[in-house]
């Protein structure tokens, strides 16, 4: 980087050198231009790479593969989980983090219905509860949780809700729906 002679102009006392451009700067300039051209060529001319929805399809397939190991829920499986303290404890943690805001910390009901009183809007059978947690109820404003929490957490939280059944927490929300008929 030798100092080149001054350009003849002087502006308000400011002089200008006319040094050559540093090579490393030129390297960045040309590399980024070559990269940009190559990127455009690859994705938009040769169309050799997937677009963003293509990437998403690949990612979704991978997700489906990973989730395929989950066993579908059944009444027996859920009732078995109720007897497993570890699952119930996990379900309780999920409940406190995601459900308590609407159903109350003890399931006594706030915005959402009371889960301790034996009355059910969509049925009190293990799979009926599981369905509402997993798929939600748009009309009642219950979100579908399986998408966000995943199948295993939904099973665990269902098991926890089954343990609340009939605890009749004092001061709970008035009953909604039908009493459970055995």
């Amino acid at each position: 980087m030798s100092e080149k002679s001054l350009v003849h102009h002087v502006y308000d006392g400011i002089e200008e050198h006319d040094n050559n451009l540093p090579n490393w700067w030129l390297f960045i300039l040309w590399t980024t231009i070559v990269f940009g051209t190559g990127y455009w060529f690859w994705f938009h001319i040769a169309e050799a790479g997937p677009g963003q929805m293509g990437e998403y399809a690949t990612e979704s397939a991978e997700f489906a593969r990973r989730a395929s190991g989950n066993k579908p829920a059944s009444n027996e499986m859920l009732l078995a989980l109720v007897k497993d303290p570890e699952s119930v404890a996990g379900g309780k943690a999920v409940f406190q983090a995601n459900c308590a805001a609407c159903h109350g910390p003890q399931g006594q009901g706030l915005i959402g219905p009371n889960l301790t009183d034996g009355f059910w809007l969509h049925g009190g059978a293990p799979m009926a509860i599981h369905k509402v947690v997993a798929e939600g109820s748009v009309a009642k404003g219950m979100p579908a949780w399986e998408r966000t929490l995943g199948a295993e957490r939904v099973k665990a939280v269902t098991a926890y809700v089954l343990t609340l059944k009939g605890t009749n927490v004092p001061g709970g929300k008035a009953p909604q729906g039908e009493p459970e008929t055995p």
Partner: protein, 785 residues
């Protein structure tokens, strides 16, 4: 030949400096307040006018347009006069410019806290203020170009090039992005909608950064840095290359704000590759600044002015490396919507703009008052407080942004979200919000010390105006020089080899947009060939000592301005035009959006008024981690009636695009009254006034008919029925809440906002959904393709 004495107008410069310092303190104090509100929600104080979502736009507008704007004008007025050896053309225009700009700032400071906003980031001001901005900008432009016409210096120095680029580009950006139809004196709707509005907005937003916060400051750097260092500028040829590359490339980069959104892939890719190509041109400016100090580095030790200027240029280099990095799609996937972006812009605003301003003020004020700086020690202390403050700020935001971005996408072995609850990811970064508040406050304290120091300096001297003497040649003496028959200058400008080569290369490059692989290879070979030829011809011309074309246009402001305008229009037109001309109503992958019901439209205006977009996006990107958390990927055709779009740019809270129908009305009511009742740990401010305030029921038909004019397919019958439909939908929501013990009137703002939130991602909620299986309009349309 005669001597002429020229006295510069430095009064205007002094005024702009005073305004910049005062509004700098205001803008940064509001910044510190909003930063504290993110760490401690109680700092919202329950007052609508002091709520985060209304104040954040005030903070950004104040810092950009009031602080940097006034600082830029001070620098431009001071340096332009000296570089052109001419007093500003009109003292009256200078006065109108100064007082008009301050009036605009005051208007912004009143309207934004009142919730009078368009919700387009950094362009939130409503249409009457937009008109005033355009008017004052034109006054500034006339004053500037008139001074150019009266100049006593043949050629334009590089600082002036940057000022020219600033003036014309900001005018173009402001006018296009502010196009709107007014509903009344304080409310208007963007003429663009959905994807188009998003693209126009970020073309504007990004280039406001480029041409309001960067190019004028580069011009200021080119004047004040060599002045303060008393060293020559490093390289004239570098300044030519980085100027033209910067103005041409910058304008294309806007879509990097919209990576992985519903914007078409091709536009995203253009935004990304041009952002990457911006790296070298930006660093060209940094180099010319830093290397100007070659041989004078020791001055850094004593001179606070140089400390600030050099640190400012260094932060510029850092921000302009980080910018291209964040524009790479996979990096944006992680960084977008997080605090990383907030850290990035503050590296630029505090480091580059703030420090360049401080360096310029410390150099200027003693000279403007014919005295010495009151306290060099205090200036040094300001420098270190500011530097440590910036570092705390940006490091906190890096940690917080990357941390939260990783938490959003973290999964369990079976692919489900590790942190399904959004608040968890917010609580994890709260300590960083406190560090950011501390860093920002330190910077503000330093800035206040500068204000005191400058005040004491000014008080110790007396205002003096600079002057110079120029030799004016009489017209008679000039005539013989012009006599030799020469090609007219405009012909030489238009046939200049750099211009012809640029046109040839750009024309050929344009075809890359459509070419198939084989043809594209031919085109690429042609481009390389043309480039090679240009290189050979340039070398030969230089060796032959032919006059430079660049020197020619640098002596012709009109030619220079037109060429700059063309350079910035190419990128804008190439990206905006195809997107605007496309027929949005044809759904690409799904069902097109249905127009909002009257009440939902009213609620949407409240969403805009309260500034919900400052913390919530409405754009679910195509990642499994996002669709698990928020619902299906957002599609372009779901936003076609969104005037303006509400995609947002930051997720302090979760995305809301598919929140409709997810929760009961009571949940929304509870959440808006006290966010922590439904989301413990949330930092969202409460909005209890929504339950008290009433909407203007009579506005509904007016809003519908305005939307009709903007192309939303409401029928005249819809307009006529607007009030009754509005009432029916409002009463249904109010009745639902009443059945659960909550009493709000059907025409309360709460009900309207809940109506809007409940329809997000779905159709209007006041009409029964069409029976399943019945062919809808969009299905028939698809079938006919």
């Amino acid at each position: 030949m005669q001597q002429q004495r020229i006295v510069y107008d430095d009064t205007t410069t002094r005024r702009f400096i005073f305004a910049a310092v005062v509004f700098g303190i205001v803008g940064m104090a509001v910044g510190a307040l909003v930063a504290s509100q993110l760490a401690w929600w109680q700092a919202n104080l329950g007052i609508p006018y002091l709520t985060y979502s209304r104040l954040r736009p005030l903070h950004t507008n104040a810092v950009i347009f009031a602080f940097v704007g006034n600082m830029m004008f001070a620098g431009v007025y001071y340096s332009t006069q000296r570089l052109l050896k001419a007093r500003m053309a009109s003292d009256l225009l200078s006065k109108i410019h100064f007082w008009g700009w301050q009036a605009i700032i005051v208007a912004a400071a009143i309207t934004l806290p009142l919730g009078i906003t368009t919700s387009k980031e950094y362009a939130e001001l409503e249409w009457p203020i937009d008109l005033a901005i355009a008017l004052i900008w034109v006054v500034f432009a006339i004053n500037f170009f008139w001074t150019l016409a009266k100049r006593n210096e043949k050629n334009l120095y590089v600082a002036i090039w940057f000022y020219i680029a600033t003036i014309i580009t900001v005018a173009v950006l402001h006018i296009v992005n502010s196009l709107a139809l007014p509903l009344d004196g304080l409310k208007s709707y963007s003429v663009f909608s959905g994807v188009q509005d998003a693209l126009v907005q970020w073309w504007y937003g990004h280039n406001a950064v480029a041409f309001f916060l960067t190019t004028p400051i580069l011009g200021i750097m080119y004047y004040f840095l060599p002045k303060a260092a008393e060293r020559p500028v490093y390289s004239y040829r570098l300044s030519i290359i980085h100027f033209w590359a910067l103005v041409f490339i910058y304008i294309w980069a806007g879509p990097h704000h919209l990576l992985y959104t519903a914007l078409p892939d091709w536009a995203q890719s253009l935004g990304m590759v041009f952002s990457v190509m911006l790296w070298a041109p930006s660093w060209g400016g940094m180099l010319n600044g830093l290397l100007t100090l070659k041989g004078a580095w020791h001055k850094l030790r004593e001179d606070p002015v140089l400390k600030f200027l050099i640190a400012g240029v260094t932060f510029y280099g850092m921000a302009t490396f980080e910018g291209p990095l964040l524009s790479i799609k996979s990096v944006s996937a992680l960084g977008h919507y997080t605090d990383w972006i907030v850290g990035h812009v503050h590296g630029g605003a505090l480091g580059w703009n703030g420090f360049m301003a401080a360096g310029m003020f410390y150099w200027l004020v003693p000279r403007l008052y014919g005295t010495r700086l009151h306290s060099t020690k205090a200036a040094d202390a300001h420098f270190w407080l500011g530097t440590v403050g910036i570092l705390l700020y940006i490091v906190a935001m890096w940690i917080s942004g990357i941390n939260q971005g990783l938490m959003w996408r973290a999964t369990n072995p079976d692919g489900t979200l590790l942190y399904p609850n959004f608040v968890e990811t917010l609580l994890a970064i709260r300590p960083m919000y406190i560090v950011r508040f501390v860093g920002g406050s330190m910077y503000l304290v330093g800035f206040c010390m500068m204000a005191w120091n400058l005040w004491k300096t000014a008080r110790s001297g007396k205002a003096v105006d600079g002057e110079t003497t120029v030799v004016v040649e009489s017209p008679a003496a000039e005539a013989p020089v012009a006599a030799p028959a020469q090609t007219p200058a405009w012909v030489r400008v238009l046939t200049g080899r750099p211009l012809l080569f640029a046109i040839a290369i750009l024309t050929v490059t344009m075809f890359l947009g459509w070419a198939k692989p084989v043809r594209a290879v031919v085109i690429l070979v042609a481009i390389v060939g043309l480039g090679e030829l240009a290189w050979i011809v340039t070398r030969r011309d230089r060796e032959a000592g032919r006059p430079s074309w660049f020197a020619l246009i640098e002596g012709r402001p009109l030619a220079f301005t037109v060429l700059t305008l063309v350079a910035i229009l190419i990128g804008g037109v190439a990206e905006l035009l195809p997107t605007i001309l496309i027929d949005q109503a044809v759904p690409a992958h799904g069902e097109a959006q249905k127009p909002y019901s009257p009440l939902e439209l009213q609620g949407r205006d409240l969403y805009v008024r309260e500034g919900c977009y400052t913390c919530h996006s409405q754009m679910i990107r195509p990642f499994v981690a996002e669709t698990q958390r928020y619902g299906d990927v957002s599609r372009a055709e779901e936003f076609i009636y969104d005037h303006p779009f509400q995609w947002g740019s930051k997720r302090t809270g979760p995305d809301l695009h598919r929140v409709g129908g997810r929760y009961p009305n009571l949940w929304h009511y509870t959440h808006l009254m006290d966010p922590r009742a439904t989301s413990p740990g949330s930092n969202m401010p409460p909005y209890p006034w929504l339950a008290e305030n009433r909407i203007k029921v009579k506005d509904a038909p007016r809003k519908l008919s305005l939307m009709q004019k903007l192309g939303v397919p409401y029928t005249n019958a819809d307009v006529d029925a607007a009030e009754s439909r509005q009432k029916a939908q409002g009463e249904a929501i109010a009745a639902d809440l009443a059945s659960q013990g909550i009493q709000v009137t059907w025409d309360s703002e709460m009900v309207a906002l809940v109506a809007y939130l409940q329809r997000l991602g779905r159709g209007p909620q006041d009409v029964p959904p069409p029976p399943a299986g019945a062919p809808t309009a969009s299905v028939t349309q698809e079938g006919s393709h």
